[in-house]
């Protein structure tokens, strides 16, 4: 003890430049090592910042491009529902009412509003302000309520996509007239309509209720959402029970032998097969061999089920493994058969974990695009599918198709569809997290 206590004194007595750790060289070396330490730490932080920044840029780009799509330019027009153009007053036949010349009503209303635009080219430019969907909207109105015939109403109608992107300032408004989609005369009309409050951005209901369209101002995501729903329903119906059954067998009953080892290696490898290969499988087997219809959510769901199966099996096995053996032993001790012990006691306790894994697998399947392209879900479908065997598209494929379209108006619609998709993914992941939080048990 005394020796050690004496040591500091000895060190203090030594001149500062004598210890081998106190030479200038050593000090420089130490400084360099500490600098290297700081550099290393900074590089680590930079790496994380880079990833987070990439995520932020991605999300902000999508949000920034997409949020404008939730409002759409509409024009208020005073429409005279002239029976000459549609059908005689008193007609109730829907088919006949739908066939009326509604375009003429819109043209007439626009011309009354802007009497100076009487030349042929001006009239055409005037008509170009309105969407093709405006006529359909009027036709629907009359078909729903035939008493409109002969009356005059003020109606908000969708404007053409060119007008919409212009009003939203998404195109260069200072370009030379020849380079613009919106010409100077149209610009004047737009401003005049705006001044009287007859042109404004209104909530885009159509986007949430409609399906695909060639016109950016008329598209909606509902068709894709319903298609995705049916697809996931099939996926869940196939993959969830089969995944649980496979996991129960492998985890609880399987003997350790060559065959089960083959199965396990197989499952691990399947989890890493590129998704497009599953698409090839679906095309060759389900469509080529079994002759199932193309573009159907049913087939898409089967392909995604095969894809999610390994993920669900792996998650379910982990959840089953986490249930302590004492539960099984207690059940067996009370006279339950092994199957009863698993089905009545182990499986319910493992269920939250299995469900969490399944939801995450479903979220993954919801975002999957490539295999569905292979089986023909990339079709132009304007109807919302009614059953899982109708031709349909799914949300991510819809995004892919819109992203491929050339019109400027599709950019915001694509981004908005991505926002919808991300909201669904967020909800599913939140559900998984809540489930885990609520039911997580530490044994």
């Amino acid at each position: 003890m005394t020796d050690m206590a004496a040591e500091p004194n000895q060190l203090a007595a030594m001149p500062a430049d004598q210890g081998i750790h106190m030479t200038d060289k050593a000090k420089r070396r130490l400084k360099a090592r500490y600098a290297a330490e700081r550099r290393f730490r900074l590089i680590g932080m930079a790496a994380i910042l880079f990833s987070l920044a990439a995520l932020a840029v991605l999300l902000f780009t999508i949000l920034g491009n997409g949020f404008t799509a939730f409002r759409q330019t509409h024009v208020q027009l005073e429409i005279q529902f002239e029976p000459d153009q549609i059908a005689p007053v008193g007609t109730t036949d829907t088919a006949k009412l739908m066939q009326g010349n509604y375009g003429a009503l819109i043209t007439k209303s626009l011309q009354q509003r802007f009497p100076e635009a009487s030349s042929r080219s001006n009239r055409r430019a005037l008509e170009a302000l309105m969407s093709a969907g405006a006529e359909v909207q009027l036709a629907r109105m009359v078909a729903d309520d035939p008493s409109l015939l002969g009356q005059t109403r003020k109606v908000w109608l969708p404007a053409h996509s060119n007008v919409d992107v212009f009003v939203k300032g998404q195109v260069d408004t200072t370009a030379a007239e020849a380079d613009r989609r919106i010409k100077d005369n149209q610009l004047g009309w737009i401003n005049a309509l705006k001044a009287t409050g007859d042109l404004e951005l209104r909530f885009n209901t159509r986007f949430f209720t409609g399906a695909d369209s060639r016109e950016p101002e008329l598209v909606g995501v509902w068709g894709g959402v319903v298609g995705s729903f049916y697809t996931l329903l099939v996926t869940l119906a196939v993959a969830f029970p089969l995944g649980i059954m496979a996991a129960i067998y492998l985890e609880e009953f399987a003997p350790k032998n060559r065959w089960t080892e083959i199965i396990e290696v197989n499952i691990n490898n399947l989890a890493a097969v590129p998704s497009i290969v599953y698409g090839l499988l679906g095309l060759a087997v389900f469509i080529g061999f079994f002759g199932m219809p193309r573009s159907a959510p049913f087939v898409g769901g089967l392909v995604l089920a095969l894809m999610s199966l390994p993920v669900i099996i792996i998650a379910a096995r982990a959840a089953l493994r986490a249930v302590p053996p004492s539960i099984r032993q207690a059940a067996l001790g009370l006279g339950a058969s092994p199957l009863q012990a698993v089905l009545h006691h182990v499986l319910p306790l493992a269920m939250p974990g299995i469900l969490t894994g399944t939801i995450i697998a479903m979220a993954h399947a919801l975002g999957e695009t490539a295999p569905l392209l292979m089986i023909g879900m990339v079709a132009f479908i304007v109807d919302v599918p009614a059953t899982p065997v109708d031709a349909a598209t799914v949300l991510p494929v819809q995004i892919f198709m819109w992203a491929d379209s050339a019109e400027r108006g599709f950019v915001e619609k694509t981004s908005a569809a991505i926002i919808v998709l991300l909201v669904f993914l967020l909800l599913m992941n939140l559900a998984a997290i809540l489930l885990r939080k609520k039911f997580e048990r530490r044994w």
Binding site: A47, T61, V277, L309, V378
Partner: protein
């Protein structure tokens, strides 16, 4: 419609079988459960197995096979002048017939030549459905009767039911194997048909890829060249760019998170990184095409470089971002698995934290990190949507990241999207490409899994 009705009927009748079985067992025991070998529900399930299993199995097989059988029957009954058509014309004819028969094309609009064939098709279909109803119901009722007949108080229903349940579990677990077999068979089968038309060596080592086949014999300029080397080169180039982004960023993130980050930062950053992995690839593709590619092009032209509008760099960069979490989360796990004693030993010798990481932890974790990099690389090779949307179709052999290249997956998608015939080399080429992709990714996975396995043994 009537087949789905039959399915519902079968299910309802099976439920009836369950109730009957229970009742009969209880009745046989004089209403006392103690008189039975098993719980009454097992007798119910036993009857369900007898009546539901065979009839539903038959139903499934019938529905799966019906279409192809009807098709063959119709085809054999075709008038002789149609039978002599070329194979592709015949398949076109048959799909027209099916369209009429399924009501996609109204009967009055159909080609008058096709009408009798379509009617024949419909008749066969109806006969088949009727036969299915009869056979399935007979099977179900016979099963139910024979199941009910076996019920007696001494009958060991639970053991029987559990035996069947065990078999069902085994069947479910073999599905993974069947999926693999299905993948391999479908790829190999279609690829073999492709290699029957195109030399395999030419496919693997040819330097030109232009899969346009002449539709007419006299057509000019579409000889069809199936040398896949440009696609392989493009895939490797884009995947390499992605790895150049993902490996350093992912690895350093993992190191920082495992060794430096305080607990509360870790709790936020780790999920945020996992969000990157959860974003659908189609979103990355859109981001690459809309934002990154123009940015790269502008940055390039500002530096006086010529950048293609669909450059490999843009696709690779975005793919790299997508892959960061794959590298980081797996590396994070292996770094955390390095025993604390190694760290303590290193600190005890006076090493700084970064020296410990670089000289002790990373070498110790190297096999696991290598496995995670290999897995990430295999994911990059198989990634489809980003390259479909951001890399384009130009199959060039170049090492220039600013040029446009194309990948295997892009061409699989391009060859198969839209309408195609099933036996043109153009369509089959996609399966050959898929086979190559499958083999390569599978090999990479097996290597990675083996490395992980070996490494685990080292420290456990």
């Amino acid at each position: 419609m009537s087949t789905s009705l039959l399915f519902a009927v079968l299910l309802i009748l099976s439920l009836g079988g369950y109730l009957l079985g229970r009742r009969r067992a209880l009745g046989a025991a004089g209403g006392k459960i103690t008189g039975l070998h098993s719980l009454p529900t097992f007798y119910g399930w036993y009857v369900v197995i007898w009546c539901g299993l065979p009839s539903l199995l038959l139903f499934g097989l019938w529905v799966a096979a019906e279409d192809s059988i009807v098709r063959v029957l119709v085809q054999n009954a075709l008038p002789p002048e149609m039978l002599s058509l070329r194979a592709d014309q015949l398949s076109l004819l048959m799909s027209n017939v099916r369209n009429v028969a399924y009501g996609l094309v109204p009967m009055d609009h159909a080609d008058p030549q096709l009408r009798p064939i379509a009617e024949h098709y419909i008749t066969l279909h109806q006969i088949s459905t009727a036969a299915l109803w009869v056979v399935a119901l007979v099977l179900l009722i016979a099963g139910m009767l024979s199941g009910l007949r076996r019920i007696s108080p001494e009958f060991r229903a639970r053991n029987r039911v559990e035996q069947v349940a065990q078999w069902l579990l085994i069947t479910a677990s073999t599905l993974a194997v069947f999926t693999t077999i299905g993948i391999v068979l479908s790829l190999v089968f279609e690829a073999a048909r492709f290699f029957a038309k195109i030399n395999a060596l030419e496919f693997l080592f040819g330097l030109t890829w232009s899969p346009q086949m002449a539709i007419r014999v006299d057509q000019v300029g579409s000889s069809g060249a199936f040398g896949a080397v440009p696609l392989f080169a493009g895939t490797l180039l884009i995947a390499a760019i992605a790895m150049i982004v993902a490996v350093p960023v992912g690895l350093m993130s993992a190191v920082y998170m495992a060794e430096y980050a305080p607990q509360n930062l870790r709790a936020w950053v780790k999920p945020a990184l996992e969000v990157l992995a959860g974003i659908p690839t189609v979103v990355y593709g859109f981001f690459a095409a809309l934002t990154v590619a123009p940015f790269v092009q502008q940055a390039g032209s500002a530096l006086g470089l010529e950048v293609a509008s669909q450059s490999a760099l843009a696709a690779g960069l975005v793919m790299g971002i997508m892959i960061i979490p794959f590298v980081s989360s797996l590396s994070d796990d292996v770094i955390n698995a390095v025993p604390q004693s190694l760290r303590d030993g290193s600190y005890g010798l006076g090493a700084t934290q970064s020296e410990t990481i670089r000289k002790v932890i990373l070498p110790a974790a190297l096999p696991g990190i290598a496995a995670s990099v290999i897995l990430a690389f295999s994911r990059a090779l198989g990634e489809t949507m980003i390259v479909v949307m951001a890399a384009g179709l130009a199959a060039n052999i170049t090492a220039n990241p600013l040029a446009a290249v194309s990948t295997v997956t892009v061409h699989i998608a391009a060859l198969l999207v839209g309408d195609q015939e099933f036996d043109s080399p153009k369509t089959l080429a996609a399966f050959a490409l898929g086979l190559v992709l499958f083999i390569v990714t599978l090999a990479l996975n097996i290597i990675a899994l083996n490395i992980v396995k070996k490494y685990r043994e080292q420290y456990d």
